[in-house]
């Protein structure tokens, strides 16, 4: 009888039970629970975070559940993303989905459980199942405005693409299993190394497997050229769900990619053992993502679409760190994702508050926002400038890390391209600031009063961006610690 250390999965189990509690609470109160259900969901996330602080560090179910520092780091990101998504949902929960709040919050929590399992998965099957658990609730959530064509379209598109990409990923996994006879990522790496050292080559099957995995996860990440679905889905989905998609679900893709490619297939990105280098493939994809994302974002007049394209580009930047597979590189990936959480969730939160009030997502509507709601406008400006990477905001430190990793690993051309597109990105980020601050507007709109929870989200976002921009030390050390998980230094 193997010794299963069940205490490691206590946070996940708790969050799952809490999600069930949220469903039943909604029924028990006959759906007349006002904001309390939202606060309860946030409370559940908070308790999960505390549990996480106690129960982490170790391996259970053989290698299927690895609670290492990398998992811990990403779980914090996932909990933060869910917290901020729920926090910014209060306005729309009390208007558009008044009668389905329980399912809404509960499904976000369920998806978060999935992300947490994913962060710990160091085995291909559990990784795949966790990834499905992340995305299936999101199909429902994307289509949550069931009377709204755009939202239904969004959910349907997301489901089709999601199912398709999962199939591709699964196919890749099956080839990897066929090659190595195991689904354990560590053992897989070992087997491949032995085969490679014995025979000097592995053969095209590995290349196909890599392509499948990259494509499968690339869809989840909306990494170019697999990004086509993202803008439509992002535009149609309820804004907080869009935010969660662009941060939580992307972070899920990032950790899956890191576990399989950087953790499992890393040996083949090294100079000594280099039968099939995936670094260059990803570099080209990252370059395409940065170019397509940033250039297309220039032409958007809808804030959600603009942020959708911007998030495509942001993942491109992040992949620069990933493809180097160095200590700085992996640390920069974790750090970038962490900072991106604050900036992107914050920007979407402002968009949510605005559209709750006016029903519009048009950037031109933001005119005179700096006069009517100066704090909201200032917060938006800070989020956008951080996304653009202007110091001393945290987005700069994050970009600096990623680019440093790129230069160190010899991808200077990619770094220069990244920086050039970052200049392009400044144009559309600054455009929103221009509309808010510079454009003269005849009438000053009504002052927007965000719900308390949304105010908390904004405060957390702004504080995080400024604090971690000026003092990134603590979190950066943590990020460097997570890089040790890959164990090649």
């Amino acid at each position: 009888m193997p010794n299963y250390n069940l205490s490691l999965i206590i946070p996940e189990v708790f969050l799952f039970l809490w999600a069930l509690f949220i469903f039943s609470y909604d029924l028990g109160t006959k759906r007349k629970n006002a904001d309390s259900i939202g606060y309860l969901s946030m409370l559940g996330l908070g308790i999960t975070a505390i549990l996480l602080a106690y129960y982490h560090g170790g391996i259970t179910f053989k290698n299927m559940f690895t609670s290492d520092s990398l998992a811990l780091f990403f779980k914090i990101i996932f909990l933060g993303a869910a917290f901020m998504a729920i926090g910014s949902s209060f306005g729309l929960a009390s208007q558009k989905i008044k009668n389905h709040r329980g399912e809404y919050y509960g499904l976000i929590l369920i998806s978060t459980v999935g992300t947490m399992f994913l962060a710990s998965a160091n085995e291909l099957i559990s990784l795949y199942i966790a990834l499905e658990l992340v995305t299936i609730p999101l199909f429902v959530l994307a289509a949550y405005y069931k009377d709204d064509k755009a939202s239904v379209e969004s959910g349907l598109k997301y489901m089709i693409v999601g199912a398709f990409s999962s199939a591709i990923l699964l196919y890749g996994i099956s080839i990897l299993y066929g090659l190595t006879g195991t689904t354990d990522i560590t053992l897989m790496k070992l087997h491949l190394s032995i085969v490679f050292l014995s025979y000097g080559k592995i053969g095209p099957a590995l290349l196909i497997a890599m392509m499948m995995v990259i494509a499968g996860i690339g869809f989840k990440l909306a990494l170019a050229p697999f990004h086509m679905w993202a803008p439509d889905v992002y535009q149609g989905a309820p804004t907080p769900i869009t935010a969660y998609l662009s941060v939580g679900s992307k972070a899920a893709g990032v950790i899956a990619f890191a576990r399989i490619m950087a953790g499992g297939l890393f040996a083949f990105a090294d100079d000594v053992m280099k039968p099939l280098d995936w670094g260059m493939i990803v570099a080209i994809m990252a370059a395409a993502a940065m170019i397509i994302g940033n250039i297309t974002a220039l032409m958007q007049s809808n804030i959600k679409r603009m942020l959708a394209y911007s998030s495509i580009a942001q993942i491109g930047y992040l992949m620069i760190g990933m493809l180097t597979v160095t200590e700085i590189g992996m640390a920069s990936v974790a750090f970038y994702m962490f900072i991106y959480l604050f900036a992107n969730m914050g920007a979407f939160a402002v968009a949510t508050i605005y559209s709750d009030k006016t029903g519009s997502d048009n950037i031109s509507g933001y005119a005179s926002l700096s006069k009517s709601s100066p704090l909201l406008a200032a917060a938006m400006a800070i989020f956008l400038l951080s996304l653009a990477g202007i110091p001393p905001l945290a987005g700069f430190a994050a970009k600096y890390m990623v680019f440093a990793a790129g230069v160190q690993a010899g991808y200077t051309w990619l770094v220069i391209l990244g920086l050039l597109t970052a200049v392009v990105s400044l144009y559309y980020y600054a455009n929103v600031i221009k509309v808010m601050y510079f454009t003269p507007h005849a009438e000053v709109g009504e002052k927007l009063h965000p719900p308390v929870a949304a105010g908390i989200v904004l405060a957390v976002g702004v504080a995080g961006i400024i604090f971690f921009g000026v003092f990134p030390n603590s979190i950066l050390k943590f990020a460097f610690g997570t890089a040790k998980v890959f164990g090649f230094f």
């Binding site: 230069v407 920086l419 601050y437 454009t439």
Partner: protein
């Protein structure tokens, strides 16, 4: 006095001021104004004290003084908080402290969104002071970029009719320049062993670990970043837009301090760090300087707008700095470059202030609209003529000293081509005299249009106070350049030796 972190105080007092002003009620305009003035007055006094103390105690040596740190800031990537000043940064600090105070004083007539204006201005001041003190690349870069955001807002919110265009153009141009700088910084970081971001350490070690090709590349990357800021022809096109659209005080800061950061960066970083590249590029740099001198002057001559004229004259005057920087072998030339930076800051700052004074009253800056103002506004005219003369290099004022030093230095620098380039550059002085005198003649002399300008009022006391210190300094440096040059001498000699490596 080593224990007192004077540079930190100098940089962060404006920042604290910005925070304080942010929490003042926005209706109380005078409270906002005077608080801001106070928070720029204190750093000004501190920069004066640094200048005084440095002059009497440290001016004979080339080391960094008032150093703070290195204190570990971001440990995993070896970033340190490291400040210090030497003979080339002290005068720049002085200039920044003075011009920031005067600009804030001159901004008392801003009426739209007063509170935000001063918050951004104080943020800007903190960034500028930081650039001149930073000795760590990361810190330097952060300060360098921090200024862009307040500048963007200051132009974009309080600027003229085409403010939106000018603001984003400025922002994009400068960011474009600095990204190349960032790549070069990363190359240096990973090239050095052990990896460091310390500017003094890299000055010592960069020529040893960089190959010739890499040196040229890094130099070029830094050059793009700095040249856009100067701005060196052909990177100058953001400048006329930004200058013309910016509110008066912001133009003063742009011309007086921001442009100097480009040349300061070259002297502090590029020149000593990449000596081979400087030798390789010296003639092209001087030619760029020459083009800027002549082109800037010719374009100024064609301007109908008073502010645009002054803006293009900046392009021309900063060209002298580039010419001097090309003549890297000559201590005189480099000293001349520093003199030109300071003198241009004083003179052009004052010219922008004065143009602003006129614009506030007449609501136009078109040269052709005026005429004979001299009779109506004698004090104003006196000041304007004084600074125009200083700008065209009349002996007895700082402009003459600096231009003379630049010419002597570059002529005697020992590189044959420089004799020709210098000879051509001297033409710039004539052209400057041409457009400046023509402007004076058309605006202040001639027939006075009583019907149109009869209501113009004389420059008021506050406005005189803003330009008077600049006038005093311009003349003082013109007559007694020795104290200033003594202060910088040791640092510049050391610099020239470093380049000669």
């Amino acid at each position: 006095m080593v224990d007192f972190p004077i540079l930190t105080y100098t940089i962060f007092i404006p920042l604290i001021g910005a925070a304080v002003v942010m929490f003042l009620p926005k209706e109380r305009l005078n409270a906002v104004r005077w608080t801001s003035l106070f928070f720029s007055f204190v750093p000004m006094l501190l920069t004066f004290w640094i200048t005084w103390d440095y002059f009497f105690n440290f001016s004979g040596t080339a080391d960094f003084y008032y150093t703070e740190g290195p204190v570990s800031w971001i440990a995993p990537i070896n970033v340190y908080y490291h400040l210090g000043v030497d003979g080339i940064s002290v005068p720049m600090l002085f200039l920044t402290g003075l011009l920031s105070f005067l600009s804030i004083l001159s901004s008392f007539n801003i009426v739209n969104r007063v509170k935000e204006y001063f918050v951004f201005f104080l943020l800007l001041e903190a960034g500028m002071l930081g650039v001149f003190c930073a000795l760590d690349f990361f810190l330097f870069y952060v300060f360098w970029e921090v200024m862009l955001v307040p500048m963007y807002f200051l132009i974009g919110v309080w600027g003229g009719p085409r403010k939106e265009y000018a603001a984003i153009k400025f922002f994009l141009y400068t960011l474009f320049g600095s990204i190349f700088m960032l790549v070069a910084i990363l190359i240096l970081y990973f090239g050095s062993e052990p990896s460091t971001l310390s500017i003094p350490e890299l000055i010592n070690s960069a020529p040893t670990f960089l190959t010739h090709g890499m040196q040229l590349l890094c130099f070029a990357f830094f050059f793009v970043g700095f040249a856009i800021k100067v701005p060196v022809w052909p990177f100058h096109t953001w400048l006329p837009d930004a200058h013309v659209e910016a509110p008066t005080a912001v133009s003063v800061i742009l011309a007086g301090v921001l442009l100097k950061m480009g040349t300061y960066g070259m002297l502090r970083i590029s020149w000593p760090m990449f000596p081979d590249a400087v030798k390789f590029f010296s003639i092209p740099i001087a030619i760029l300087g020459l083009i800027a001198i002549i082109y800037g002057a010719l374009v100024s001559m064609a301007q109908k707008d008073l502010k645009k004229l002054v803006a293009y004259s900046s392009v021309s005057h900063m060209g002298y700095c580039m010419l001097a920087l090309g003549a890297f072998t000559s201590v005189t030339a480099i000293t001349g470059c520093m003199f030109q930076m300071i003198s241009h800051g004083l003179i052009t700052g004052a010219l922008f202030l004065l143009v602003g004074v006129l614009y506030d009253r007449a609501h136009t800056r078109e040269i052709a609209a005026f005429g004979g103002i001299g009779a109506k506004l004698p004090v104003y005219t006196g000041l304007m003529v004084l600074f125009s003369m200083a700008s065209l290099g009349l002996p007895g004022m700082s402009g003459f000293v600096s231009e003379f030093m630049v010419f002597v230095g570059s002529f005697t620098s020992g590189i044959v081509w420089f004799k020709l380039i210098t000879a051509l550059a001297v033409l710039g002085v004539v052209l400057t005299a041409g457009y400046m005198l023509r402007m004076v003649q058309r605006v202040f002399l001639g027939e006075f249009n009583t019907a149109k300008w009869g209501g113009l009022t004389e420059i008021n006391a506050r406005e005189v106070i803003t330009v008077a210190p600049l006038a005093v300094l311009t003349i003082a440096i013109g007559f007694f350049p020795a104290p200033l040059s003594n202060m910088m001498k040791a640092t510049i000699e050391n610099l020239v030796q470093l380049i000669a490596r």
